[in-house]
């Protein structure tokens, strides 16, 4: 944990834990505000802003705020357990026990949400979320009176393209081709099941 934080963050954390620089009330507010900022639910950050700019220790507070954000993000990235987080805070940055406890409980509550905001960063291949299909019957063509072939129009609705969400995958195919596709998909599903069962034989 310690090696994953730079010196600036560590010094900021030390200041945040110092009760003469940051009193208990302010610490709680900082914590709530920091968690809200990371999880992007900006309900109480305004409250904090007025508080930060008015005080004479504004610089300490800004640094502490930054360090708290960095700590939350890095801890969530590494998925550290609350025990190791607490021991890190107690031994490496010398926080008092009640602050460690407060932070770890807040962190535990917010951990999935922080990880969600981490998961929202980056890019991944488009994800098929829905499918629409229709059958097209070709009854007759200009060359023959009785042409009886069926075409399937498939529209995979995808999400997660970086530029737009409207990039759906559309194609037409005949019934044998569709069967081929379905069997391939089933094969892929079987492969996934095999991976899932690898650890529980």
């Amino acid at each position: 944990m310690e090696t994953r934080l730079c010196a600036d963050v560590l010094s900021g954390l030390k200041r945040l834990g110092n009760s003469t620089l940051v009193n208990e009330d302010l610490f709680s507010k900082l914590l709530v505000c920091g968690v809200n900022t990371i999880t992007q639910s900006n309900s109480q950050s305004l409250n904090f802003l007025s508080l930060a700019t008015g005080s004479s220790k504004g610089d300490v507070m800004k640094e502490a705020h930054f360090s708290l954000l960095a700590l939350l993000v890095e801890a969530a990235r590494m998925d550290v357990s609350s025990d190791s987080l607490q021991s890190f805070l107690e031994s490496k940055v010398n926080w008092p026990a009640n602050r460690c406890k407060k932070l770890t409980t807040a962190f535990n509550e917010a951990l999935p949400h922080i990880q969600v905001s981490l998961a929202n960063v980056g890019f991944h291949p488009p994800h098929v979320v829905d499918v629409k299909w229709s059958l097209l019957h070709n009854i007759k063509s200009s060359s023959s009176e009785h042409a009886a072939n069926t075409i399937v129009a498939v529209n995979f609705k995808t999400e997660g393209m970086t530029n737009s969400s409207e990039d759906d995958v559309q194609f037409m195919c005949t019934l044998p081709e569709l069967q081929d596709l379905v069997s391939k998909l089933k094969e892929a599903l079987r492969q996934m099941e095999r991976v899932a069962q690898m650890s529980h034989p």
């Binding site: 800004k62 990235r77 991944h124 994800h127 979320v129 599903l189 690898m198």
Partner: protein, 617 residues
């Protein structure tokens, strides 16, 4: 049998049976305990068999449970005789056999441990997590995309999976944390931080860039702690700016000169335009200077354009030359002046020093002057003045003496006080130093002790874990030792039995040979006496006596054999009685009859209920 019972009880305790400490053999097992033990064993062998572990009060249900357990045992492959009576009216030997069978079938703890401990490496854990997540995703139903915000699907256990949805590219922005000051004084920087620096969360242009920016800043801090680019200082900035301007100006001048050599009409470049702007003001008075030239121009209107242009160029060149020379003059003068300034400023401190010296001399002279004037004023009536002066001097000396005595008066107690205070102070200082030393030692000791405590605790944990691991092995080794002893005993006993058998065989052989010899000697004696008996009366009597002796002896032998057989039979019977007594048929019979009575009562009550019900109906 105690050993076996102890092993059985230990195994039952391991699978979670609540057996009290004082129970040491199967004889002490109550029917409830027997049923609990058997059902727990079956549960451990076949998870999910759902046999109740406690006996209900109703007799019929009890029988059913007993029958179920017996059925399960036979299904598992128990070949001996088993039925509800084995569990409900247990006799020791049958119960022991059944429980031994069940305990042999118990799954080994070691295997279970292995399965749990296997995924200890990181890769294996990761694989497990992957497969668990995939299983979760495979088992969760399809949900339309508008039911998820940002493609996040929340599971019941608080975890989530990302399925599609918007995602933001990793774009980070530089953040200012207030740690490094950029070329300004700490005072200014601190003021800026306190007053104007926005929070890091407000520094990013969009909220979704905050997390990447934080990660980037932190990583950069780790990878290059002191290689951050220092912002250029203000002086440097000024210098580079002036350098840049100078070079720009030089370029401008040279390009302007070039441009002038070429045509005037091609004023396309920026430098040239600038040049024209710059020089136009200087040119205008110059043009006005020779009015004659202008008149000449007007006069020679008919002259060709070429000539005019040529003259113009010449004029301009002339002007440029002139300006250049002027410029050179100015530069020279400037240099001269700068040189002067330098020499002057070098001289300045020297001059200032001189001035100081002169002022000091002046002051001294002025002081002397005033003294002299006073003396000159006093000269006219010198005697009286001298008297006065003497008186003054005396008064002053007296005053001085009195002051000195006063000073002495004050000084003595103060000095004493001072000494005392110093002593006190030194003692205090030494005491405080001692206390500091003591404090330091205590602190060291405390830290040492805490360290020791931690070590001890670790050791304790470690040992406890080891103890938990080892205790089983100890009992196992004890049991194996015991088994080895028992095997040794058995082989010894076998040897003894063989010896006894050999003895008996030898005795048999001896008896047989003796019997043979007896027969032979009897037939010989019989023949000899019979031959004599025909002639002799005594011999006839002897023969008769021999015959009776022989028959009596054979009868005796037969009797002895019969007694032996009887003794053997009685021993067998005694054994049988013992085994029957072990089965405690009497007690069981009593219990069975009591249970039967209870069942009859239950049946009667049920019949009564039925009757009342039917009566009601």
């Amino acid at each position: 049998m105690d050993e076996v019972d102890r092993i059985i009880i230990r195994s039952l305790k391991e699978i979670g049976c609540d057996i009290e400490e004082e129970i040491e053999s199967l004889k002490q097992f109550s029917p409830e305990l027997v049923v609990e033990a058997a059902s727990k064993c079956i549960e451990a062998i076949q998870p999910g068999s759902r046999i109740p572990t406690s006996l209900p009060p109703s007799m019929s249900l009890r029988f059913r449970i007993g029958a179920t357990i017996a059925q399960t045992c036979t299904d598992m492959g128990y070949t001996g005789e088993v039925g509800y009576q084995t569990f409900l009216y247990s006799n020791e030997a049958d119960l022991r056999r059944v429980l031994m069978f069940l305990i042999e079938r118990l799954p080994k703890d070691g295997q279970a441990d292995k399965i749990v401990q296997e995924p200890s490496s990181r890769a294996a854990r990761l694989r497990n997590e992957i497969s668990a997540t995939i299983t979760k995703q495979l088992s969760s139903p399809w949900v339309p995309s508008f039911c998820r915000t940002d493609g996040i699907r929340w599971h019941d256990d608080g975890s989530f999976t990302k399925e599609g949805g918007r995602c933001n590219p990793y774009v980070s922005e530089p953040l200012q944390t207030g740690n490094t000051s950029h070329g300004c004084t700490p005072q200014e920087w601190r003021e800026y931080c306190v007053q104007y620096l926005p929070l890091v969360s407000d520094q990013v242009s969009a909220a979704n860039r905050l997390v990447p920016s934080l990660i980037t800043l932190n990583s950069r801090g780790i990878l290059a702690p002191r290689q951050q680019l220092a912002a250029p200082k203000a002086e440097e900035l000024r210098k580079t700016r002036s350098d840049l301007l100078k070079s720009e100006f030089d370029k401008l001048v040279s390009s302007a000169a070039q441009q002038k050599l070429h045509s005037r009409s091609k004023l396309s470049s920026r430098f040239a335009l600038n040049e024209r702007l710059q020089f136009s003001s200087e040119k205008s008075p110059e043009k006005k200077k020779p009015p004659a030239a202008e008149s000449v121009v007007e006069e020679a209107a008919s002259e060709s354009a070429e000539e005019r242009q040529k003259r113009q160029e010449e004029e301009e060149e002339l002007a440029v030359e002139k300006l250049k020379s002027e410029n050179d003059d100015l530069r020279e003068r400037l240099e001269q002046l700068q040189l002067d300034i330098k020499t002057m400023s070098a001289k300045l401190p020297k001059v200032l020093d001189e001035r100081d010296l002169a002022e000091r001399a002046l002051k001294e002279a002025e002081a002397q002057q005033t003294v002299r004037r006073k003396v000159l004023d006093l000269l006219p009536n010198a005697d009286t003045n001298i008297e006065k002066l003497h008186a003054m001097i005396e008064a002053t000396t007296k005053k001085l003496v009195s002051l000195a005595s006063q000073w002495e008066e004050h000084r003595a107690p103060l000095l004493l006080k001072y000494r005392e205070a110093r002593k006190l102070n030194s003692s205090k200082a030494s005491e405080s130093a001692r206390q500091v030393e003591a404090l330091r030692i205590t602190r060291d000791k405390v830290s040492e002790l805490t360290e020791e405590l931690r070590n001890k605790e670790e050791l304790y944990k470690h040992l406890q874990a080891e103890y938990a691991k080892v205790s089983k092995d100890i009992s196992r080794s004890a049991y194996t030792r015991r088994i080895m002893e028992i095997i040794g005993n058995i082989s010894k006993q076998k040897d003894e039995i063989e010896k006894i058998l050999k003895d008996t065989k030898e005795l048999h052989k001896e008896i047989n040979t003796l019997a043979g010899r007896l027969d032979r000697s009897f037939t010989v004696a019989d023949e000899v006496i019979f031959r004599d008996a025909k002639r002799d009366e005594v011999s006839r009597r002897a023969y008769k006596l021999l015959a009776t002796l022989h028959s009596d002896c054979s009868e005796l032998v037969k009797m002895v054999e019969e007694t032996g057989a009887n003794v053997r039979e009685s021993r067998d019977l005694e054994d049988q009685i013992e085994t029957e007594r072990a089965k405690s048929v009497g007690g069981n019979l009593e219990r069975i009859s009591a249970d039967l009575h209870q069942m009859k009562q239950e049946t009667a009550s049920l019949a009564a209920q039925l009757k009342t019900k039917s009566g009601d109906v």
